[in-house]
């Protein structure tokens, strides 16, 4: 029963994040670069629950985004699955909540963002004339930095007591 409750909670949180992604992100994008709120959600789950939850959430979140956005179907699902899985390496049953509250979480988001945006760039933007390092530097690094900065803001406004975290 608890498990279903958690899934329901996650679904509600996901709804909030997808709304943020489609409504707020266009307003705060800098040039062509924008943060990825859905990725923060996926990384959060990976750190709080481990590999299986991280990669599954990444797949579902990415797939839903692909379905409604009109981008290449499966591209976001692939990149977010990878990111969610990597986030799972930072799962620690005892320390996860502390990690979420610390700057370490920002660094984890940065790492996962780099992986996410790099994979996405390779699938959607790579052609014969693009050089891979330039592609990754141009398209993965700026949004990864931006997403990390957004996470930094989150660190300052999150509830301080561990009981407030969804797990």
């Amino acid at each position: 029963m608890n498990k279903y409750k958690s899934i329901l909670k996650y679904f509600l949180v996901f709804s909030v994040f997808i709304s943020l992604q489609t409504v707020l992100v266009p307003l705060i994008s800098v040039g062509s670069f924008s943060p990825d709120f859905l990725l923060i959600f996926v990384v959060y789950l990976g750190v709080m629950r481990g590999h299986i939850w991280g990669s599954t959430a990444g797949f579902i979140t990415g797939l839903l985004f692909d379905l409604i956005s009109g981008y290449l179907l499966g591209s976001s699902a692939f990149s977010k699955t990878l990111s969610g899985f990597v986030a799972g390496y930072f799962y620690n049953e005892i320390k996860s909540v502390q990690i979420i509250k610390s700057v370490s979480f920002v660094l984890i988001v940065f790492l996962c963002s780099l992986i996410n945006f790099s994979a996405f760039a390779v699938f959607t933007g790579f052609d014969s004339v693009s050089s891979l390092p330039v592609l990754l530097f141009d398209q993965a690094l700026p949004p990864a930095v931006y997403t990390s900065l957004i996470t930094l803001i989150y660190i300052f406004i999150v509830p301080k007591s561990s009981g407030d975290y969804i797990k």
């Binding site: 266009p26 062509s32 924008s34 990825d36 990415g62 956005s69 591209s75 990878l82 330039v134």
Partner: protein, 278 residues
């Protein structure tokens, strides 16, 4: 042995799951253009559109939009007329070829507003609040008073998804409005590029680039951007140029759909693949 295999599977189950999910995502990428998958996509898009439209109808209840819409409509009509007038000032030889153009000012325009945007890795797609119920179809160009914003790629009863000029998948044949030099416009690495222009093309910074009659998707003149720079003009056999997009698709709220799906046929074969899907 079975016990060992079971233990091995349990200890590596997250890797198996990862492999399965990545394979599933790769499979989806390979079948994303198939008819059945498009149906699922349409259903998901319709559900999302219903949700956003309901939300927006509540928030827009207090905002008078009809006046803004009529002014923007007039602006877009003038832009199309302006495109035609610009065409008329080029030299005689080109003027003769322009006589074959369709009269773009007579196109029916459908006003719409952007309900949500999808930004991802420097790409932008957006949805609008009009769909098949307003007569919109896949392949119709979406414009503003400044130029081309994108092409409709998905349609439900009450909303449509627009693939903008800032999308890797949208490629159009364009040309400069002074001459007859055509190239292929595509969004690449965060830049709007025109590729494969001949070295002899007389292109200057600030030149206006419009859709070409050679295009099978938008064969009537609509502005797409202005020349920002020519990349390595001394190298290679062709010139690539960087454009400043005529329309800032990251910021626009109101758009107009040209209610016309361009058709170009050769030997009885439809070249506009949006028209083929219909």
């Amino acid at each position: 042995m079975i016990e060992f295999a079971k233990k091995l599977f349990l200890s590596l189950k997250h890797y198996f799951l990862l492999l399965f999910l990545l394979l599933a995502a790769s499979f989806l990428m390979s079948v994303s253009e198939m008819q059945g998958v498009q149906g699922v996509r349409k259903l998901a898009f319709a559900s999302y559109s219903f949700f956003t439209n309901s939300l927006l109808s509540v928030t827009n209840f207090f905002i008078p939009t009809s006046e803004i819409e009529s002014i923007k409509l007039k602006n877009a009509e003038l832009m199309l007329e302006n495109n035609k007038l610009r065409e008329l000032i080029v030299q005689n030889e080109e003027l003769k070829s322009l006589l074959g153009f369709k009269d773009t000012t007579s196109f029916d325009l459908e006003p719409a507003y952007v309900t949500s945007r999808f930004l991802s890795n420097e790409q932008v797609n957006f949805t609008i609040n009009k769909g098949a119920g307003s007569g919109l179809k896949i392949g119709m160009p979406v414009i503003t008073g400044k130029g081309l914003a994108g092409i409709i790629t998905e349609v439900t009863s009450y909303s449509s998804n627009v693939q903008t000029i800032k999308n890797y998948d949208l490629k159009l044949v364009v040309r400069n409005d002074k001459g007859k030099y055509s190239g292929i416009m595509k969004w690449t690495n965060g830049k709007l590029l025109v590729k494969n222009l001949p070295k002899t093309a007389q292109i200057e910074r600030g030149d206006r680039i419009i859709t070409s009659p050679e295009s099978s998707i938008v064969g009537f003149p609509v502005a797409v951007g202005y020349v920002k720079e020519i990349i390595d003009p001394e190298k290679g056999m062709f010139n690539d140029i960087v454009l400043i997009p005529a329309v800032d698709v990251d910021r626009i709220d109101y758009v107009f759909v040209i209610k016309h799906v361009y058709s170009k046929q050769r030997g009885g074969f439809e070249l506009n693949y949006y028209n083929r899907n219909e």
